[in-house]
Subunit: 339 residues, 4 copies
């Protein structure tokens, strides 16, 4: 470990998102994992004795870390990643922020608070300024920064270029979401093998309220969410009404012209991959291509109701969770928030 790296803490280090965070941090140029925390049940165990639940070899760097119980002692700050469920997040994240930590949270607990940035760095890096408001109003020395829900993140990345170029008036999104979005144990195999579950508790409301906050304007949004027997990668069928009714060709140009200027270690060179094969993108083939930080758009065509329809796909646990939280931390660091 290089001494000059920022030590970080992972809350919820044993779950699917926590493990993806660890893998991303194994060779990170700015951050190094100093603490791993989990529930009381796992506290005290060697990290190397925890089952590794994501494909590929386990990074050996963390085997000798000892799982701690999440608690904002002096040991933990200044940078904390929270891969906690909403319940524990509601209690623990403010405690860490109050103790001086910048908490990059994947949980939904504080996303809709008016003084909390709901960040996708390519889209609304300026929302980071809310930290000043947050600190003033709450008296914290740290802060909470949230990445959106995985489904929202993928949708917002597809809509941002269109909102920038034309203005989005209404969006109707039907999702086909992967099992990994529910974590482990998550959805029982009896419910998902060869099946579709047409309901994901709370998901539709999250998309409908988070999207306008990210794009910074009220937008009529309707989400219809489904769980499908896919391991990784949320597919979203999107119909959208744009100002001025641009053609699919103009939309294609708007996607191509959208080049967010983001020089961060985890930022993908091309956050949008445009597919022309009529049966792509597909979660098994495309979701984790590259390192899972790009989203994939295809099947651009006119919609008889709203004007334009297309498919967008992204990695729910990388771009939609672990990688999204990390990118937020990198943005915070680059803006001097961690020093």
């Amino acid at each position: 470990m290089t001494r000059s790296k920022i030590p970080v803490t992972i809350l919820g280090a044993t779950g699917v998102v926590g493990q993806r965070l660890l893998r991303r941090l194994a060779d990170h140029p700015w951050f190094e994992v100093a603490h791993v925390a989990a529930s009381e049940r796992s506290a005290g165990k060697r990290y190397g004795d925890i089952p590794w639940r994501i494909p590929g070899a386990r990074p050996s760097d963390f085997d000798d870390l000892i799982l701690e119980e999440a608690s904002p002692t002096q040991a933990f700050p200044p940078l904390v990643f929270s891969a906690l469920d909403s319940g524990p997040a509601r209690e623990l994240e403010p405690a860490f922020a109050s103790a001086g930590a910048v908490v990059c949270s994947n949980a939904s607990a504080f996303r809709m608070e008016t003084d909390v940035p709901l960040l996708i760095p390519e889209i609304n890096a300026g929302a980071l300024d809310l930290v000043k408001v947050q600190r003033a109003s709450r008296g914290w020395t740290g802060a909470i920064l949230c990445n959106p829900n995985c489904t929202t993140t993928i949708l917002a990345l597809a809509l941002a270029p269109l909102h920038h170029a034309f203005g989005v008036e209404a969006v109707l999104m039907t999702s086909l979401q992967a099992a990994s979005g529910a974590g482990h144990p998550g959805v029982p195999s009896l419910d998902l093998l060869g099946n579709v579950v047409p309901h994901i508790p709370g998901e539709e409301a999250k998309v409908e309220e988070e999207l306008p906050k990210i794009l910074g304007t009220p937008i009529a949004t309707s989400a219809l969410c489904h769980r499908v027997p896919v391991i990784e990668g949320h597919t979203e069928a999107v119909s959208v009404r744009l100002k001025g009714s641009p053609s699919p060709e103009q939309v294609r140009e708007a996607f191509a012209a959208w080049r967010p200027d983001l020089d961060l270690p985890s930022a993908p060179r091309h956050p949008l991959m445009i597919h022309t094969a009529e049966d792509r993108p597909q979660p098994r083939l495309d979701a984790e291509s590259g390192d899972g930080m790009a989203i994939h758009i295809g099947r651009l065509r006119p919609c008889p109701i709203l004007g334009l329809k297309f498919t967008v796909l992204g990695s729910n646990t990388e771009r939609g969770a672990a990688g999204g939280a990390l990118l937020n931390a990198e943005l915070a660091f680059s803006k001097g928030l961690l020093t």
Copy 2:
């Protein structure tokens, strides 16, 4: 075999839809299978030597039938079920109709011809009157009757009560379709295991053009079709704009009030099953309940864009194919068309 039953011919008897037709006809009160036809490659084989590809024991009644090559000889009329692909259907169905057979077709070849009934007996039984026009214009003694595409059928059954009660102005439907809809061999397992294919050739156009023909009025329709790793049962996420913007409760009442008066052997007592559990209907649990002729509706809720959204599920190979064709034949018989 009882002499008084109508002898029927099955074209495409070895496929998934053909086998479901045979199973439905094994004990039918009005019809009895006299001929089974398939491609040149299978002609001459005992039916009992053909692999049985649907769950459950093979009905033994048909084991000794010999597969014939489809050809409208004298032997085949008067009632023919066509489970052919569109290409062969385009050629063979007119030949049979010209030779005097009433062809109940599951193929798409003639669905959109203006003189061909596109029938769902609960919805538009009156379309049978087109047969007179068809015979006059084409000089046939027989006729072609079509059931709609499986996805359209399920959607139309859900919308008919709403169209009757309120008027449907616009409908946006995203499908999650089962593998059985593509027949056997159909979709390769490498393309579908743990995956979503966001494209089904021709499917979206079929839904968008067939639905208005069935409901008898132009309706703005947008379909977004996906193949998912499910064996049987198409799930459809529907958003709809209704005249007068009725509440979900009024919609629920309209569904309950819709009691088509159809006294046919394959007609379900309750063609609509309304689910209140928020995670139903599901294809594995509900698609084939009963004998697969009812459709299942759930998750009625307001849509911020079009007013109302809900989930509808149905058996694509039963209600959407084999059972649909059989119901059409029963309607034709009850109206004196087969005598």
Copy 3:
């Protein structure tokens, strides 16, 4: 309810096996469901408010039953089906048996006790005589009767005719087991979608110790158990060494000659279905054919190591659980044990 039917109690009525038991009992000629019991958490709820987790429509007969907490009060005897997990079974089943109930148990808790019948009526109906020993040694007026583990049951039904005709000397069985065998929630979908889990806790030992008890003689048995992404139906690849090294043809004859004389309502007419197609039996197509009480055998061929190999498939939740327990109860009733 007909007064002359025997009232029965279902312990574990909300699980997958409990629901299959209820469905089997909805029209049973001898038994009628009087009590449904479940964990403390569900006690007091209407049965109709419990999610129905097996395909097909929910039988309406039980909707108004109120779930009770399992406890051997006077209300419960004389016939009890236990679909409990092993832990609660170890405590509750003796309490019911002591209170006078005949407990037909699907749990593993007491299977290997020397005074407990481990029953498959077609194979070892005589084991019912152990009840006398059991009552004498334990001072019970009721009794515990066990059906074997699902994997063992399917294997034993395939081996019994061979053991009867030739004598089984050694058997090596590799299983590919369905998710339903682990109940609900059971195996997380993240562990099973597109995957194989090469370990099922305790399963291999159960097969290796239960099989000799059922066949009534020590037999070298090796089990290698796997969970595969199948909903229902355990497939077992079996190699067996038989006395006298009979040919596959002689084995086929022994299977055909095995006609257990069992006149019970749930006994299948042909408990063994022999398949000749080289790619059958398959769980999706065959496991639940009929009512899931027959087992399916195919791919009989020589084994270079042990002499004979074949595939056997059966419904783990019907023949291997709910139907097996019910058949045991029917045997007990027919032998006068319930009166």
Copy 4:
């Protein structure tokens, strides 16, 4: 392209194995792809217009290559990879070998010929000497080198250390094989979703005859092969009788002691990964870890019939096909066979 690299030809370049070969060759230190060949149907197309069917981004290096019809013209030698089916391989591979090419073949056509090396470099590199015999007897200036069937390769790698340390007397192997082993389109999804197919044409015979040829001695071998709904990675449940009946601990030591000395670019540093978690290895998590060239062994335990049982898993399309063929080519090059 560096001029000093050996130009290679891929026969069957559009299939799953062909694409994995291309990906492996994109940055190879010794070889560079010069020709891609496929069936007459694809000849003349740009490679970049062929669908890419394996996960991850398509390597752009080959987009401008034009698919040629496979034919042993002067253009093709000296190094040819054959990912052909057995039928075309039987005809084309000798033509290329006769024209002077060293053909590294994944096809089964010539594997059992006595003068053809059936090579796994870690196990029987010496078999390369057969090339002299082959050239002498057939009058070829080139040669055919075969890698074994995917299932055999994985089994042989697990058994080689045991054969070396103790001697293998008998092996019974039950496979749970992935869909990718059948290529694309391969197994229809209707046959494999939520299902097991207990038969893979020709597979059991291949394992039973190839294994003894690789290990260099007659060994009683019994294979029971199944297709399961897994994308990649064959799981094999193995029971083995070893000379001297070593304990699982001695077996573990033999695995650890086996360090083949192979300094080739595609050779894994540790060809055997030994798992101690009782539910590992699993295809989804382990098959492609590293670059798919190691095999994974777990669940070492006593077998009541043959003495020892364990699970072995490997990537069927990498170690069992594309990577295996490439490793053979590297061995041939390192031994001077390509110059």
